[in-house]
């Protein structure tokens, strides 16, 4: 039904190319989760505030709940599923584990996808800069301290470099 209104898009997600016929109003978050079954990207508010749905669009953090999937036609997306390689955690994931930087874990993929480009661009960030960078992602369980600690360790160990 309504196929005449559907639009074909081709996107690269975590290095794999997908072509799909979709409704123009489909949110990128719903596209990733329900069309591609990449459910690691979580949805917390659907108005771009909580940051749980953060993914990388051509390497930069964006909120997939306030972008339509048709807007990313021809572009490249990275989600949390792309971080660990061959069952080995990305160094940032490993530091989150070591520092107990997650509790329920629902917001965690969004934090990770915010931090990957942040550390790339700010490999020597201090605590104030780290907290500022994290302030667009809401976490209701951890009180942030251990996330901050994990990022500080990431800076010390040169994760962003």
């Amino acid at each position: 039904m309504h196929d005449e209104t559907k639009v074909q898009i081709t996107v690269s997600v975590n290095g794999e190319t997908y072509t799909r016929l979709i409704e123009p109003r489909l949110l990128l978050s719903d596209f990733l989760r329900h069309e591609l079954k990449l459910t690691g990207t979580n949805v917390g508010c659907e108005h771009g505030v909580c940051g749980a749905c953060t993914v990388l669009l051509d390497g930069e953090s964006v909120r997939s709940c306030i972008i339509f999937a048709v807007q990313v036609d021809g572009q490249s997306i990275e989600t949390v599923e792309g971080l660990a390689k061959n069952d080995t955690l990305h160094p940032l994931q490993e530091l989150f584990h070591q520092e107990h930087a997650l509790q329920c874990g629902f917001c965690t993929p969004g934090f990770l996808m915010t931090l990957v480009p942040f550390l790339r661009d700010n490999p020597t960030a201090d605590e104030a800069a780290i907290r500022q960078a994290l302030s667009g992602n809401l976490c209701r369980c951890t009180g942030y301290a251990n996330i901050v600690a994990a990022v500080k360790k990431a800076v010390e160990s040169g994760v962003g470099r």
Partner: protein, 791 residues
């Protein structure tokens, strides 16, 4: 007692992290079944209205729509939900039960109440159609203000009741009336605590699949209590309990509202699936979460403290109103907690407390992390602060003078607690926590040096130190099954749900300690009724206490079985055996040993004969039910700085010294404390649900309802005191809510301290605050701060 074991007490990294970090963990909306239909609920815009009719004609014609249901379609299934917690046995208690309904029928009683459910092939199409469901209703005046709700002539939320009174409860200890007139000093004050919302980052959701061929219902639900959900759904749908399987998957934060049971959506979605014979899913969106998920915290207290001139409490009288919202499925848990927690760590010989719970046209109130304890602590701590100021006693010293001494435990408080038993503090030792907190916050130096120096530079620093107790680990019971598998892995199954507390690790530590296994070899299942089907749920900081002790008991039974078998195989006796590194060995012998896996295989022979009465496998189930809850306690201390032009607050230092008895995993407990403090800070200074006189919520988004961010929450300095609970073999007490409970009281004390140079008479009697509200309290209606007068 504070020694850590080989697993118990260790800062073990969590077993659950890998799945959560890689996106593999399954939250409710990650679970998909073929041919799933999606529901959009249609919710009332009005807080109070009489329904004339609901027109679904247009909605039914929309593309993708499979069905639209209203209350009329539910037939006999339509019934008010169960009373989850009956009122406790307090004499002369009055209680009027009015529980939520699946879909509004004759009246809507809060903005957000659902009155229709649209079922379509996608959520997008369901929402398109939901916009075309028309409600014809006559608006009624809304009952919002607690005092106006009790005035003669007020509109009534439930018109079949004589008034908006939902309950009246009076409890007392000693005889306050006998000392009222003779006290050296009496302080009377009104305190107001307003509502917030838990705002878990994951909203609620439910996926139900009734298979018409198998005649079985499978439900995934974001509930903290999957077992009661299973029993309740079976009863409502006319199914045997064995036909219903409920799974609480990974849950993105609970905090209490997910222990509320039989939300309208929880009742309607499985029914729709049974009607249609297809999987049906509903995922709450954030907007709905503000209107449809239960909330907490509206109370007004008129309190009186009678105190001697040397600062010793003689008695406390407290009369309060409790905002119940539209329904009271959770009975009196929240106001009873307020009533009982007010006593705090103090020796209060005479206590009189009475409350009236009030129905309002607002979202129903059920426990949210702290569950009424905040209010009690706020009132008591504030009364002591006011007394300290009048009597010119240091606020820390007045607390010191009133603590229950350690030799007085167990301490009977003569009032009935939320678990229907008399409130008896099982154990406690309050002074050491206070003294530790003072060292960490550097109290003396702050008073003598830092504060005056800062003031000389025009900076306003304040310090606060408050105490609290937390009733935790209440009954009735939980159970666990522990099994050593032939591969050497160990499985634990328990009925409680998990929402991020680290159960997969903490329970593994408890069992690993007994069986000498690596916690990484232990696999924990929670919240799946097929794996374990007895239990009550995750609430009241009871997981580690009640389910933890059940795991402990089950592990001991398994160890006994394993030891008996190993003794035979190794030609030894059970008391000669030690369990370590995944093997059972004869003490002092390097080669007389057998691995747990091999032992499990031996315990389950597939051929041959066994002795009569032999139970297969190395498996055992055990239950734990405490007589009463274990009372945790602690002290929070803060140094904060106030910008007196903007009333923005910066936290300079935050200390928590907590006593939750023996600690299973300090990493997890400190995480709970830190996270709890963050939620407490939100409650104290950011998060307030603003409604107008019509019951319309004015800030229903995360842009307007502000949760604290990484810039607002400091890294808490955590320390522990361990006073083991004598009520449980593990000696543990709960720790889940301690971080949040005293933060409002702490803010108030520290803000008054910081603002004393410019507002010496400021007495903060309300929470939540905000920079705006603090500005008004300090500068009144002047609208500008003194620093800006000539600008």
């Amino acid at each position: 007692m504070s020694r850590a074991g080989r697993a118990f007490g260790q800062r073990a990294r969590r077993n659950e992290d890998y799945d959560l970090l890689t996106g593999r963990a399954q939250f409710i909306d990650d679970i998909t079944l073929p041919d799933t239909l999606h529901v959009a609920f249609v919710r009332s815009d009005l807080a109070h209205a009489r329904i004339n009719s609901i027109d679904t004609t247009e909605a039914r014609k929309m593309p993708g729509v499979v069905a639209v249901y209203t209350a009329a379609d539910l037939g006999d299934y339509w019934a008010p939900g169960p009373l989850l917690v009956p009122p406790p046995p307090v004499k002369r208690l009055e209680f009027f039960e009015r529980t939520q309904v699946p879909l509004a029928k004759d009246k809507v009683v809060y903005a957000g109440e659902p009155y229709a459910a649209v079922v379509a092939t996608s959520r997008y199409l369901a929402e398109d159609a939901a916009a075309l469901v028309y409600l014809d209703a006559d608006p009624l005046d809304a009952v919002i203000d607690l005092e106006a709700a009790l005035a003669a002539g007020s509109p009534r939320v439930h018109e079949d009741l004589a008034s908006n009174v939902a309950a009246k409860v009076t409890q007392f200890k000693g005889d306050y009336g006998s000392i009222e007139q003779s006290a050296d000093l009496r302080i009377t004050q009104r305190f107001v605590y307003d509502r917030g919302t838990a705002a878990a980052i994951e909203n609620r959701g439910i996926l139900a699949h009734f298979d018409p061929k198998a005649q079985k219902l499978l439900v995934w639900d974001t509930t903290q209590a999957p077992i009661p959900i299973r029993g309740g759904l079976a009863r409502m749908l006319g199914l045997a309990v064995s036909q219903v399987h409920v799974i609480a998957p990974n849950i993105g934060g609970g905090f209490g509202p997910k222990i509320m049971m039989f939300y309208p959506e929880e009742v309607v979605v499985p029914w729709i699936s049974k009607q249609l014979g297809r999987p049906v899913k509903w995922i709450e969106d954030r907007h709905e979460n503000f209107y449809a998920t239960t909330q907490e915290r509206g109370q007004i207290h008129d309190a009186e403290l009678a105190i001697s001139k040397d600062g010793r409490i003689v008695g406390v009288k407290d009369v309060f109103l409790h905002d119940n919202g539209a329904h009271n499925p959770y009975g009196l848990t929240v106001p009873i907690n307020s009533q009982c927690t007010l006593i705090g760590p103090y020796d209060i010989p005479h206590y009189h407390s009475e409350f009236t719970a009030v129905f309002t046209n607002r979202v129903t109130v059920t426990p949210y992390r702290g569950a009424g304890r905040q209010h009690g602590v706020f009132v008591m701590e504030r009364l002591l602060d006011i007394a300290a100021k009048k009597l010119k006693i240091d606020p820390v010293e007045i607390r010191r003078r009133n603590y229950i001494p350690p030799e007085d435990f167990p301490k009977a408080q003569e009032v009935i607690y939320q678990d229907f038993a008399e409130l008896v503090y099982d154990s406690g030792n309050y002074l050491p926590a206070l003294e530790k907190a003072l060292v960490h916050i550097d109290y003396e130096r702050f008073r003598k040096e830092q504060q005056p120096q800062a003031l000389a530079e025009g900076r306003h620093l304040g310090i606060g130190v408050v105490s609290y107790i937390e009733g935790t680990g209440i009954g009735p019971y939980e159970g666990a099954r522990v099994c050593i598998e032939p591969g050497g892995k160990i499985s634990i199954a328990t009925g409680i749900g998990t929402q991020g507390q680290g159960h997969y690790t903490a329970f593994a530590q408890v069992v690993a300690e007994i069986l000498g296994a690596d916690i990484k070899d232990i696999h924990v299942v929670t919240g799946d009724t097929r794996e374990f089907h007895w239990g009550s749920g995750t609430f009241a900081s009871r997981g580690a206490v009640v389910a933890g002790n059940a795991c402990h008991a089950a592990a001991l039974k398994v160890r006994e079985k394993a030891a008996t078998l190993a003794a035979t195989l190794l030609e030894s006796s059970p008391d000669q055996l030690e369990f370590c590194d995944g093997v059972v060995r004869v003490a002092g012998s390097a080669d007389k040993k057998i691995s747990l896996g091999d032992l499990a295989a031996q315990a389950n022979p597939l051929r041959g004969a066994v002795k009569p009465g032999t139970e297969p496998g190395l498996e055992a189930t055990a239950y734990f039910g405490p007589d009463r809850g274990a009372t945790a306690s602690g002290v929070h201390a803060i140094v904060l700085e106030v910008d007196v032009e903007t009333m923005m607050v910066a936290i300079k230092r935050y200390v928590v010294v907590h006593d939750c008895g023996r600690v299973i995993n300090p990493l997890i407990v400190e995480g709970q404390i830190q996270g709890g403090v963050a939620q407490g800070i939100g409650n104290a200074f950011y998060e307030q649900l603003h409604v107008d006189e019509n019951g319309q919520l004015l800030n229903a988004s995360l842009m307007d309802f502000l949760l604290p961010t990484a810039c607002d929450v400091p890294t808490v300095i955590s320390d522990h005191v361990e006073t083991p609970s004598p009520l449980t073999p593990l000696g543990v007490k709960g720790a889940g809510e301690a971080g949040t409970i005293p933060v409002g009281a702490l803010y108030a004390q520290a803000l008054e301290d910081a603002l004393r140079p410019i507002a010496p008479d400021l007495t903060i009697c309300e929470i939540p605050l905000s920079p705006n509200r603090l500005f008004e309290l300090v500068y009144g209606d002047e609208k500008t701060s003194p620093g800006r007068e000539n600008a």
